[in-house]
Amino acid sequence: MARNKEAVVLLLDVGPSMHSVLPEVERVCSMLVQKKLIFGKSDEVGFVLFGTDDTYNELQKEVGGYEHIVVLRNIGVVDGNAVGFLQNLPRGNFPGDFIDAIVVGIDLLIKKFGPTNKGKQRICLITDAKYPIKEPYEGTKEDQVNTISQMMQTHGIRLDCIVIREKLPGADLRVMEENDSLLDQFSRKAIAKIVHVDSPTSLLGALKTRNISPVTVFRGDLELSSTMKIKVWVYKKTSEEKFPTLKKYSGKAHSSDKFATYEVKVDYEYKSMEDPDKVVPPEQRIRGYRYGPQVVPISSAEWEAVKFKPEKGVKLLGFTDASNILRHYYMKDVYIFIPEPGNQKAIVAVSAIARAMKDMNKSAILRCVWRQGQGNVVIGVLRPNISSVDNIPDSFYFNVLPFVEDVREFQFPSFRSFPSSWQPNEQQQEAADNLVKMLDLTPSEGEEVLQPDYTPNPVLEVSYCFTQTVSPTCYDKIRRFYHFLDLKSKQPDADVPPLDRNLRGITEPDPAVFSCHKSVIDNFHKNFELKEKPKKKKSSKRAWRGKPSASSEEEGVDGEASGFQSSNLMKDSSNINVEKIGNLNPVQDFEAMMARRDSSKWVSKAIKEMQNHVSDLLENSYEGDAYSKAIECLLALRKGCILEQEPKEFNRFLLGLYEKWKDTDLANFFELLSSKNITLISQKEAPDSNVTEEDAKNFPVKAELKSQ
């Protein structure tokens, strides 16, 4: 346990420019502490804020300077209170100096541990590095960084730095560049990692909240041949972080029992079929392997003697063009082959092969048996990973490939063989091209939204959250669990928290991206039509309709695009019981629905759908091309509402339409209305209406006055 114990000092910038992202900073730091409470109970944490109004740190007392830095919590073993510290970070009003903060952090660690605990001390700096740092008393800033790096190295302290900058105009570029180069200097001179993130969501993913000490899968030779071998270590590169295992609860223990575990044990008993009361002891049990309908009994000793026992070793089978291995054949989580640490020759050998593979675009095929006694072999593909950091050697990624038995070669029809009604035409293809081009998650060079490396698992996030009642906002699945866990610890009856706004960006499309390409999407929408086939059984609404309010949009909108409707769409509308209003014959559909007597819901549904249909027609009309259709529909709707004594529905709808569009180029539509005698429904027509005949006639002029 103590082997993996680590000490972390969080250096948090709370200066003015950081205020907007502080909620996320609070969250990600709380997460770090919460996970430590579960996975690293003896880890130690300390919090230092900089850019604060106050100053409270020992260095300031001892040597002066170091202003606007507050040691919020000295280094100590994590406890529940630690989370409390991070819930409401004070907002500071001074520009923070991150170099000073690092010095304070180092000071804390040195005072606490002295020369011990090397390599298990970490400083996490979260800042936007927007303000200039102070000139040092002597030498240059670079010299200062060098001295600090030296110090960190001798004490075995690592630095993780997250620079968060949302795109903000007006920032001082020169200062930021200087700061960045100073930070980069750390990564060259000390063991430091600098990460730049540009959104709060990425921030959540950028900080490693759980400290897992990786274990090698294999250490030994990568055999190119029996004579040429390279010493490598193999680790897992990706591994799914699972939902924590929960224990089963038993409430049987007496309340006064202090040592109660509340656990439930599970016992298995194996009983003979013939005599259900007879328990068969373990030594009398034997394994049976299924082979078709037969079960073949084999004792483990026998099995051991005959089973497949490959020799341990990693052997090269050969190189091949990278294009021979399609991406979707990767089977499992990914391994990384690094040259044996400190072995210069291995590092060079790996580097030479990796770079040659990269240049020639080749992959290597390996056969791996990681451990002696392993019952199977692994065939996989080795890909080069050229390091971009000077002090990290080149390495390889390794992905497992399938065996013949693992692949099912189903045959699918060729797209070309589909009937022409299923093929997109040129216009539709262009709309799709535009969609793919515009909904780009890599808006500019080097930028990438939702990069896996910085995207946290929303579920884990929220569950951590649940354990912590304090903040009602929280995170996504595993995250969600931790949140919930914390929440529950404070408030046992807490409800599962909803997904946080930032995490929503992971599970749902970003409305900002989508709205800024609205025209592309609308065009795409206009070009394609979808139609749901009536279900055989009357089931509840299908999931694809999404939110009820959105259903109207989904129905496919295009009056004018009906030219694209293929003949196979027509079949469906000939259904006897009309259940919704389609695009082809909306008026007939509406009348048929209004006429249905098997349930009262049809009338309100028909009215609702017709209203949506009219809205859609107008919304998508271009230079009035959909007006005539809309008028037809409105007339039908008006008639229906009078018949069914629902005048208010119609009046409210018409006024709503008017309010929405009176100031747009659709205004001329309303002029058309009065010429077609489409007015509000007056009391004379339907007693339920609260509109007088006069008012009705004056629409839309009257409405204008009213609204003003």
């Binding site: 049987k252 990767y330 030479a352 490939l401 529950k488 499309p509 694809w544």
Partner: protein, 629 residues
């Protein structure tokens, strides 16, 4: 390889198994209907050398392979094998020219057994003498062997309801005009009867599939007769790929692929933007095959045992019901969760696929992988127009070299996925890669480990290969080139051996089969002089001249005295010395071992090379055992 007690729980692992299994649990009953007419025994290839390979052989081969695959897939599917145009007859209806092949201990339509596979594999050897071949439809006779065959097949498939079971007849033949030898009214009559028989079968929910065998010089013309039998219309005939393969292996390959029935995992909605939501089917094309589950048997009777699970409260020892509440310790407290709450937590999304945007293909890194991919293919079954949108996007993505990033809100693990468009690739053996998109499950930041940084040294700059070294490596790469490597050209040696052993044991054979491990490197190829030279040159360029010598020296130096080993040695010596000063036998005799300290006890253990772990009692008992007390 235990009974996997975990799997019985309502737990994460439960839903995980769901990922690897197909939802479509419907059983399948198949009748392989093989034409055994003399034409099937003619040479299949146009080449004179290929005389031994007949179409009949190809068919038997395919069925054999598929039976093996079936038994491994621990499938409950049932099969029957039936020949027609035979001399002998064997079927319930006692119809001429139809022979239902079967082995002992098995019904005609039943799950495949080891014996069936074995005997069927050798059926060709004795076929002529036991079953015989002859044309069943000849002029002047009223016999109609095809009609009879369909009748028998239909009768075999009578069991099981068509709702829960999918029933298929797979027809292997190389005769595209079965009624070609007769003329006149008899012919029309026979054709009419046969078609009616086929239609009856289809009305009963039995699908008839044709696996045509053809020679390169004469194609199989589906439209002569079979199009009508299968109910193909217009366009469909041209899609019905006539497998006039160049090579016989290609045809075998093609047939083998077509014998699979596609099973979808499920149908999901793919929401694209602004309420446009299409429907796609997902398929598990790649999943690792495991040796299957085991069951516990009574070693005396070899009968299966019943497993009973009971829950015991750890504090009171009382038997309890299966708990509905789980807990996790947190901050010295116990936080309880109900199963409802847990499922609510996991439910982030509604099971749909949500498009988030597109990225260039090079953003998909090699380490962005967690699990085998899932294939998606559009369906117009419920949402008409899905296929058209899918094809349009598919084309755009291929053309613009982009993949789609989407969020897949599955219940098992809501996850970001990359949708990579795959164009159709066809080879000589038919479709190699189907057109569609592959859903690749991406890791979250929590799942990615930064191992490279683990051994980062602050001062030392990692050496890089020089241009010359890279050049040498490139030369080596060119030498050891697997030209036509294709993924999954290897069978899994562990599985092959597993099933080889099981088959041998199931048939009561003594000899264990010898399975060749195809995955071993080609030693012979690697010892070709060109490769050896390239290797040697590369080795010298990166390691220097005397690497092996240095290594040997280093190893030797290690052997005779690294710090740790010296220390160990010294300890062993002290222990032996100290241990000699006690009379262990006497101490043990008088039960005085417990009066010694743990340190003293360990002297004995270290001196005798025994493990020194455990509590004092454990140490004492270990000493006693060693002394033979």
């Amino acid at each position: 390889m235990d009974l996997d007690p975990e799997g019985l729980f309502r737990d994460d692992s439960d839903s995980e198994s769901e990922f690897y299994q197909e939802k479509d649990f419907t059983k399948e009953f198949v009748v392989y209907l093989v034409d055994a007419s003399p034409k099937m025994f003619g040479a299949a290839g146009s080449d004179e050398d290929e005389k031994t390979d007949t179409h009949f052989h190809v068919a038997i081969n395919c069925i054999s392979q598929s039976l093996k695959a079936q038994i491994i897939g621990s499938s409950y599917d049932e099969v029957a094998v039936c020949f027609f145009n035979t001399k002998e007859k064997k079927n319930l209806q006692d119809l001429n020219g139809v022979y239902v092949f079967n082995v002992t201990d098995r019904e005609c339509l039943d799950r495949p057994t080891a014996r069936l596979i074995k005997e069927f594999f050798y059926v060709e050897d004795t076929f002529m003498s036991n079953i015989g071949s002859r044309y069943g439809i000849v002029s002047g006779s009223q016999e109609n062997s095809l009609y009879n065959a369909l009748w028998v097949a239909q009768a075999l498939l009578r069991k099981g309801s068509s709702k829960s079971v999918s029933k298929r007849i797979l027809l292997f033949t190389n005769e595209d005009d079965p009624f070609g030898s007769i003329t006149g009214a008899t012919k029309t009559d026979m054709i009419r009867m046969t078609l009616q028989r086929a239609k009856d079968a289809q009305d009963l929910g039995i699908s008839i599939e044709l696996l045509p065998l053809s020679r390169p010089d004469e194609g199989f013309n589906v439209s002569i007769f079979y199009a009508e039998l299968l109910g193909l219309e217009g366009d469909e005939i041209s899609h019905f790929l006539p497998s006039a393969g160049e090579k016989l292996e290609d045809m075998t390959d093609q047939l083998r692929k077509r014998m699979f029935k596609k099973r979808k995992v499920k149908t999901i909605r793919f929401s694209i933007a602004n309420g446009i939501c299409i429907e796609v089917n997902t398929y598990a094309l790649i999943r690792s095959t495991s040796p299957g589950s085991i069951m516990w048997l009574d070693s005396i009777t070899n009968l299966p045992l019943k497993t009973e699970r009971s829950f015991v409260c750890a504090d009171t020892g009382a038997l309890v019901e299966e708990p509905r509440i789980y807990f996790h310790p947190y901050k010295n407290e116990i936080i309880k969760f109900s199963t409802d709450e847990l499922s609510k937590i996991k439910k982030v999304s509604n099971g749909q696929l949500h498009l988030l945007g597109f990225k260039p293909l090079d953003c998909l890194k090699d380490y962005h992988n967690l699990r085998p991919s899932t294939f998606i293919f559009p369906t117009d079954e419920e949402v008409v127009g899905s296929t058209r949108i899918f094809i349009a996007l598919h084309r755009s993505m291929l053309r613009l070299q982009r993949f789609a990033l989407a969020f897949y809100g599955s219940l098992y693990r809501p996850q970001l996925v990359a949708l990579v468009a795959q164009d159709e690739i066809t080879g000589s053996s038919g479709q190699v890669e189907p057109p569609g998109m592959h859903m690749i499950y991406l890791p979250y930041s929590d799942d990615i480990r930064h191992v490279e940084e683990l051994h980062m040294s602050a001062d030392a700059i990692a050496p890089r290969a020089t241009d010359d070294q890279i050049k040498k490596a490139s030369a080596l790469l060119r030498r050891i080139d697997l030209k036509d490597f294709s993924v999954c050209q290897f069978t899994n040696p562990a599985l092959q051996r597993h099933y080889g052993i099981l088959q041998a044991l199931a048939l009561g054979e003594d000899e264990m089969p010898d399975i060749k491990d195809e995955t071993l490197p080609d030693e012979e190829g690697l010892s070709r002089p060109g490769i050896v030279r390239a290797l040697q040159e590369f080795k010298i360029s990166v390691y220097g001249e005397n690497y092996d010598q240095e290594e040997a020296n280093a190893a030797a130096a290690k052997g005779c005295g690294s710090e740790a080993s010296r220390k160990r040695k010294a300890m062993a010596e002290t222990a032996a010395r100290e241990s000699a000063s006690y009379d262990w036998a006497d101490l043990a005799e008088n039960g005085k071992l417990k009066d010694l300290t743990v340190v003293e006890l360990k002297y004995y253990l270290t001196a005798h090379n025994l493990p020194v772990t455990g509590k004092k009692e454990a140490l004492i008992s270990r000493i006693l055992t060693h002394l033979g007390k």
